[in-house]
Each structure stands twice: as C-alpha cells, then as structure tokens.
C-alpha cells in the first residue's frame, strides 16, 4: 500500500513537472501546397499574407485582433503629424529597433527604400496603392517625410501592417538580391529559419523584438492542402492552430471537440454577382433588376451557415469605412422578377451563361444561386472551368455574369474603385476587377477620395453606393467570415475580432497556458 502511494506520488510529481513546463513551440496548419515569394510586396495569397505580420512591422498598425481604421496605432513610427492641407506627413521613428539576422538598426533610410520599392510595379504587386505618394524622404535617421500629390482617404491606412505598408531591410534586400524573397528579414516578433518545399516553413522567436521577447519560441507553419487530413491532424493534437472552413458543419463539429475553440473573425469576403451592363441581355436594366429580385439572401445565409456568414447589404462589405445599408437594395421577390423579365421581352424566361471556377466552395455557391434563379425563370448555364482559367477568362470579358467574392482594405474607396470605377474596367490598360463595366458613380468615387471633410466624404461614398445599386451593376449576396480552429491552451494575448492578414497574429504575447 505504502509502495503504491509512493508510486502515485512520484507519478503525480512527474505529471506536475511536465505540465509546469509550458509548451513554446507552435504548429500551424494552413490549406496550401507551398508558400510563394516571401517578399511582403508579393504576398497575395492567404498562406503568404498570414505569415507577413509575424515577420514584419510597418510604420503604424491595426491593434492586434482589430481591423478598425479608426484605431490605427504606432508601430515602427512612434508619432506622426500631418500638415493642415493633409498633403505632407512627418513620421518620427522608434529608436534602437534591430533587424533580424544582424542587419543592424532600423532607420529612416529603410522606410524610404521600402516605400519606393513597394511603389514600383517591377518589385511590388501593390504599387497602385502608393500612386498618390509624390515623395518619401529621410529628414534624419529617425524622421521620414511623405508628400502626397493629392489627398487620399487614409494615409495611415496605406502605411499599416498590410501589403504595401510592411517595411523591409534595405541592407538585406541589397545584400541578398533575389535570395531575399526566399529569406525574408524583418523587425517582427519571429524570424525566418527555413523552408522545406511542399512541407513547412519554420520560424524562430526574435528575442531582440522591440516589444519584448516572444513567449512562443518556434513556429512550424505546415502546408496541408487536404481539408480532411488537416482536420484529422488538428484533432490528433499534431496542430495547435488550424485554418478552418467557413462552413456551419465544420464550425459545429470543431467546436464540439474537447479543448478546442473556433475563432470567427473579420474581414468578411463579400460575394456579388457582377452583371455586364454593356452586354446583352444585361444592357437592359429590367433584366438586371430581375436578377436582383431573384436573389434570396436569407436563404443563401441559411445555406452557408449563420455562424460564418451574413447577408450582404451593399456593394461595399459591411463595416468598411463609408459603408451604408441605406441604398435601396431590393429584397427577394420572384413575381416581380418574372414581371420584369416579361417586360424586357422574355415572358418565357431567359438563359444566360456564366463561366464558373471549379473550386468547390465557389461552385457550390453558384449552384445554389442557379437554383434561386430557376424559380424566377432564369436558366443560369454554368460553364465550369479550372480556377486559373476562370480568372483569366473573366478578365477577358468572356462571361456576361461573374460570381466574385472578395475582401479588400476596409475603406469603401478600395472596393468602389476596383469593382465599380470605369478606370478599372477589365480589358483596359488600367483594368482591375470592374467586370460589370459600371461607370455610374465615377464622379462620387473620385471626389470622395480627395475630400478633406470627413462627413462630406461619407456622403459621397453613400451616394456612390446608391447609384451603383440603382443601376444594378452588381447584386450583393452574402458575406463570409474567416474561420480558424485552435486548441484552447493557445492564447493569442489579445481579442481576435479581425485580422487583415487573414489569419491570427502571433505576437510577443501569444502563449500556451
């Protein structure tokens, strides 16, 4: 008996000592084959975006867990001031910040170099974001002056820890050359260690991080494209953090696992049907209106799941600066849709072809939409193609109706410009993603961008949304949030309500309990 008690006591001692030693290695599973170029100005896919703020900082940042542009706070810059006309900005930089890998101290020179690099189409996918930056100068090693050619909705927005805002090391880029995109060097909490092709990317803590040494010491970022296998690995405890699926069943199942939390956060991707107003049959507004009446948003949200999606209310996603729900968007009305089609000369219904990606989540959405359209006498003929082909063909104007789901920087200007300004019409030299050839709100969009008075700016954006909705350039449908699964011992160190990098930030405070 005594022996047993002693055995039990020693077993307990071992157990407590084991649990006292908290885990410091984090394993993350992401749905992708491999990382791309690890240069922040080329990080466009989810897998690359998630990684960037772990390695890099920017002049300013969204507080971890938030995507509210009103809350932007200091990052590499400690303070800043703008001239009264808003065209000249001075940033005072943090002293003593060190680059990872012994590349010395971060200075104004790095900021000038980075912003110029981010503005050059040859070295950046986001150069157009910086088109209003006339000059970036280093006043002294800790002061940077930015001059704008015209007002922009949010200078700080452009300079946050997102896409073009990340600051790279001049020395590292110049020394490493092309190798830099395989060996990133930042000032952030984690430093690049190695990549195993098709397998994983390894990071180590940057103990010299200016906000303090991270509590997590190692991150293994594993590329696991199969949803089923990734979920099994997560369930088996081989992953601490798992890229989830925006699917009600997935959320319910994962939340039901022991010691597991599901994080659902912004930004939401808004799915819209873009109707080409210059092509038959959509050159007739009555046909476009019929499509708007045929869409049943509550049904789409029921299909997608209330936990992960919500009804879209405008051509700009909800919560973006400048969004308004007061825009005249119509509710589902099948009788009205049929009536409009008859008026437009299609009393027996209409058949429209739509080029559609074979990606499962996009294709199933298109099939639900197809069923809704059918009720209104619209026969949506899906031409299913491979995903890269889909992206190319819709940009060649080959599909009069385009299903597109996107999240953008949370300011109305970006979505309105890229999708509804005539400058962005596809197949033009300045094309972005205006598939509808919409041109009804150019004036408001342009005016709002440089309007210094905030209230007037909001009014212009609201007016633009009203006009676009009235012209039915696109039919807003639903918004899908981001989803990650996490073992509940992993604590981010902040409340996760949103992340522009499309994944949780792993900061110096993130730890295991």
């Amino acid at each position: 008996m005594i022996f047993r008690a002693a055995l039990l006591a020693s077993a307990m001692a071992i157990a407590t000592s084991a649990s006292a030693e908290t885990k410091t290695a984090l394993t993350v599973g992401i749905a992708a084959q491999d990382v791309g170029r690890l240069d922040p100005y080329f990080a466009v896919s989810t897998i690359d975006r998630v990684l960037m703020p772990w390695i890099y900082n920017a002049l300013v940042r969204f507080p971890p867990g938030s995507i509210d542009p009103a809350k932007i706070e200091p990052d590499l810059a400690e303070s800043w001031a703008a001239s009264p006309d808003g065209k000249s900005w001075t940033f005072h930089l943090r002293h003593g910040v060190q680059w990872q890998g012994g590349y010395g101290e971060f200075t104004a020179d790095d900021v000038v170099f980075s912003l110029k690099r981010a503005a050059d189409p040859a070295t950046s996918a986001f150069s157009s974001e910086l088109r209003s930056f006339q000059s970036v100068e280093a006043v002294d090693p800790y002061t940077v002056k930015i001059t704008l050619s015209q007002n922009v909705p949010s200078v700080l927005g452009i300079l946050t820890n997102y896409s073009q805002g990340f600051i790279v090391s001049r020395k590292a880029v110049e020394k490493l050359g092309d190798e830099f995109e395989r060996h990133p060097v930042g000032t952030g909490p984690f430093a690049f260690s190695s990549t195993m092709p098709n397998q994983s990317l390894e990071l180590v803590a940057n103990d010299a991080y200016f906000r303090g040494a991270p509590q997590i010491k190692k991150i293994s970022y594993r590329f696991i494209p199969s949803d089923a296998s990734r979920d099994l690995a997560f369930e088996n405890g081989e992953l601490d953090l798992n890229y989830g699926r925006a699917d009600q069943k997935w959320v319910d199942r994962t939340a039901g696992l022991p010691h597991t939390a599901v994080d659902i956060f912004e930004p939401a991707e808004e799915a819209q049907l873009h109707l080409n107003i210059t092509q038959k049959p959509f050159d007739d507004i009555r046909v476009r209106q019929a499509f708007a009446y045929a869409i049943n948003r509550p049904e789409l949200v029921r299909w997608r799941g209330a936990a992960v999606s919500r009804e879209a209310q405008s051509v700009v996603p909800r919560g973006y600066l400048g969004f308004t729900a007061d825009n005249g968007l119509v509710a589902n009305n099948v009788a009205k849709a049929k009536e409009l089609l008859a008026e437009a000369g299609y009393p027996n219904g209409i058949t429209v072809k739509m080029i559609q990606s074979q990606l499962p989540e996009m294709l199933t959405a298109a099939q639900v939409i197809q069923a809704e359209m059918k009720r209104a006498g619209i026969n949506l003929e899906l031409q299913v193609v491979e995903h890269a082909t889909f992206h190319q063909q819709i940009r060649q104007d080959l599909s009069p109706i385009v299903y597109y789901s996107a999240a953008r920087f949370p300011i109305a200007d970006v979505t309105l410009t890229q999708f509804f300004h005539s400058r962005s019409i596809v197949k033009t030299p300045t094309a972005v993603t205006n598939f509808s050839h919409c041109n009804v709100a150019d004036q408001e969009i342009d005016a709002a961008r440089i309007e210094p008075d905030h209230a007037k700016q909001l009014a212009l954006w609201a007016e633009a949304q009203k006009k676009i909705v009235a012209a039915v350039c696109a039919v807003p449908m639903f918004e899908t949030l981001l989803v990650f699964g996490r073992h509940d011992t992993l604590q981010y160190g902040y409340d996760l309500t949103g992340s522009l990098s499309l994944g949780p930030l792993i900061t110096e405070k993130t730890h295991f309990q």
């Binding site: 084959q33 491999d34 990382v35 791309g36 170029r37 080329f42 466009v44 896919s45 189409p121 040859a122 950046s124 996918a125 986001f126 150069s127 157009s128 092309d178 995109e181 395989r182 990549t195 195993m196 092709p197 098709n198 397998q199 994983s200 594993r222 696991i224 494209p225 199969s226 089923a228 296998s229 099994l232 690995a233 369930e235 088996n236 081989e238 992953l239 193609v385 491979e386 995903h387 890269a388 082909t389 992206h391 190319q392 063909q393 940009r395 996107a406 953008r408 890229q418 030299p429 300045t430 094309a431 972005v432 993603t433």
Partner: protein, 313 residues
C-alpha cells in the same frame, strides 16, 4: 550489356526531346497566366507586364524555347516562377520522399500480389479463387482518398500508432520508415490488386502449357513445377506490369501524398499546374521523363535475368 544500356540511353534522347517540346507548348496553350497567379486578383496590367518581363515571358515563343532547351541541356532548370526557389533544389528535397513511397508501395504490391495471383490460378474457379478475385476488385475500386482517410482514422486517431502528418525527417531512418507505412499500404493495395490479376492470368496460361504436363508426368515435385517451371515463365508479363506501374506510382501518388501530408513529385506537379508555374512544370517533366526512361531500362534488364533468351536481343 554496357553497350545495350548505352544504346538505350541514346535511344531515349529523341523521346526526351519530344516530351520537352510537348510540355513547353502545352503549358503555354492552356489558359491561365503565371503572372496573374503570382500577383493576385488586384494586380494592374502594368504590374503583370513588369513581372512578365522579369520572368522572360514577354520574349517571343521561339526564344523562350531556345532558352529553355539550353538550360535543360546544361541541367539548370532555373527557378520556380511562383516561389522563386531553384527547381533542382525543390525536386531534390522531395525526391527521397517519392522514392521511399514508390519502393515501399512496390514491395507491398509485389509481396501481396504475386502469391495471391499464383494461389488464385492454382485454385481456378474454386472458392479461394473467387475470394482473391473479389478482394482484388475491392482493392482496385477503393479510391485512395477514401482508403487513406480510413487508415488515418483507424491507425492515427483511434489506435494512435502513426501520426497524421506524414512528412518525415530525411536524416532519421526510423522516422522515414514509420511514416511510409500507411501511405505504402494504401498505394500498394491498388498495385497488389493489379499484380494479382496479371499473375493469375499469366499463371493460368503457363500452367496449361505442354511442358508443365511433361514435367508433372516426369514426376517433378508439384512445388517445383509451380515455382520453377510455372512462375518463372509467367513472370514476364508480371515484370512488364510492375515496370509500367512504377511510372504510375511516381507521378500518380499525388492523392496519397495529399491525404498523408507527404511531400512528393506528384504533389509538386499538381501545385505547379494549378499556378501555371511554367518553369517548374518543364523542369519536373524532364526529371519525370528521365525517371521513366531509367525504370523502363531496368525493366528491360530484368527480362534478361528472367529469360536468358532475351539477353542476346
């Protein structure tokens, strides 16, 4: 023998050349654009043009082809358009995983398939034959993404013998061996099913030959008749199928690699195709083609060992 090998290698050159040309043309004919895949959906035409120039995609087709041929001949396949990493490094990093899986699956396939086929042939149209044929049909019809997930549920989640993430550390032989077991069985079972069927029909054919009857009439022991006179003569079609199947294993193990989270050639090929990574696809095809040529050569050499009559030819 050495002359034979050399002659076969030289004979493979036109094949390789034809494949290179086909790959070069096909990857460019399919719609989709690597620059768009790299730059994402907000890219402006200016950015796409700048990247095209950087990647050399703005050059005329013939010039791109000459560049590509020159590089291939010097063994430098360049850098992946998407990741920017050297193709040779990437391929060499995953090749051991592919070879491990291929060999292990081959062993499973042959060890299960050949005896099962012999057994079924000797029990022709009896209960044992029916069961073997039924099992081989099941093996053929089970897709990897179903059988693989079943394996994971049982062996990883339920019994916790193997991990779900099957990417092994190459410097650790035990780890490599442990992590290849489940994928090799998954992949090997399909192969075993094929081999069973081929072995069975080859054995049936051979066992009805006159020399078998003669051997039995002479009083040669039954076991010796089956293994020495029967199987050895039936081995030719089996070896042919095994050789062909290795080619299939190298490229088609992609589903197994995805389900078991293993790196591998098949997975890289699919990834490169999805992203229109021209340089990566071209490099992979050359390497893949080379492997197939080597496997075919080995198969031909194996014929010589099995059947002395082939040696002279």
């Amino acid at each position: 023998m050495i002359g034979f090998v050399l002659w076969r290698m030289v004979g493979a050159v036109p094949t390789l050349f034809a494949v290179l040309m086909l790959v070069f043309v096909i990857v460019r004919v399919i719609p989709g654009d690597p620059a768009a895949a790299i730059l994402g959906d907000q890219a402006t035409p200016a950015a796409v043009a700048a990247l095209d120039a950087k990647l050399g995609l703005d050059k005329p087709m013939w010039q791109q082809f000459i560049d590509f041929m020159g590089q291939s001949l010097s063994g430098d396949f360049g850098h992946s358009m998407v990741t920017g990493r050297p193709i040779v490094t990437d391929v060499l990093a995953v090749l051991p995983h592919t070879i491990d899986l291929t060999l292990a699956a081959l062993v499973v396939g042959v060890v299960l398939g050949v005896p099962a086929g012999v057994y079924a042939a000797l029990r022709r149209n009896r209960f044992g034959d029916y069961v073997t044929r039924l099992l081989s049909l099941v093996g053929l019809s089970f897709p990897v993404f179903v059988s693989g997930i079943f394996m994971l549920l049982l062996f990883a989640l339920h019994w916790r013998i193997f991990p779900v993430i099957g990417a092994a550390r190459l410097d650790d032989p035990v780890d490599r061996l442990t992590k290849v077991v489940l994928p090799a069985i998954t992949l090997g079972i399909t192969m075993a099913a094929y081999i069973t069927r081929v072995t069975r029909s080859a054995m049936l054919h051979v066992m009805s030959e006159d020399y078998i009857r003669t051997a039995r009439a002479k009083g040669v022991p039954w076991r010796r008749v089956v293994w020495r006179h029967g199987l050895r003569n039936a081995a030719m079609p089996v070896v042919t199928v095994v050789g062909l199947y290795i080619g299939i294993l190298i490229g088609n193990s992609v589903l197994t690699e995805i389900v078991f989270n293993r790196p591998g050639l098949g997975k890289i090929i699919v990834g490169a195709l999805n992203q229109r990574d021209y340089t990566m696809l071209q490099g992979l095809m050359v390497i893949y083609c080379f492997l197939i040529v080597v496997v075919n050569l080995l198969t031909d050499l194996a014929y010589g060992f099995i059947d002395p009559r082939v040696k002279g030819g």
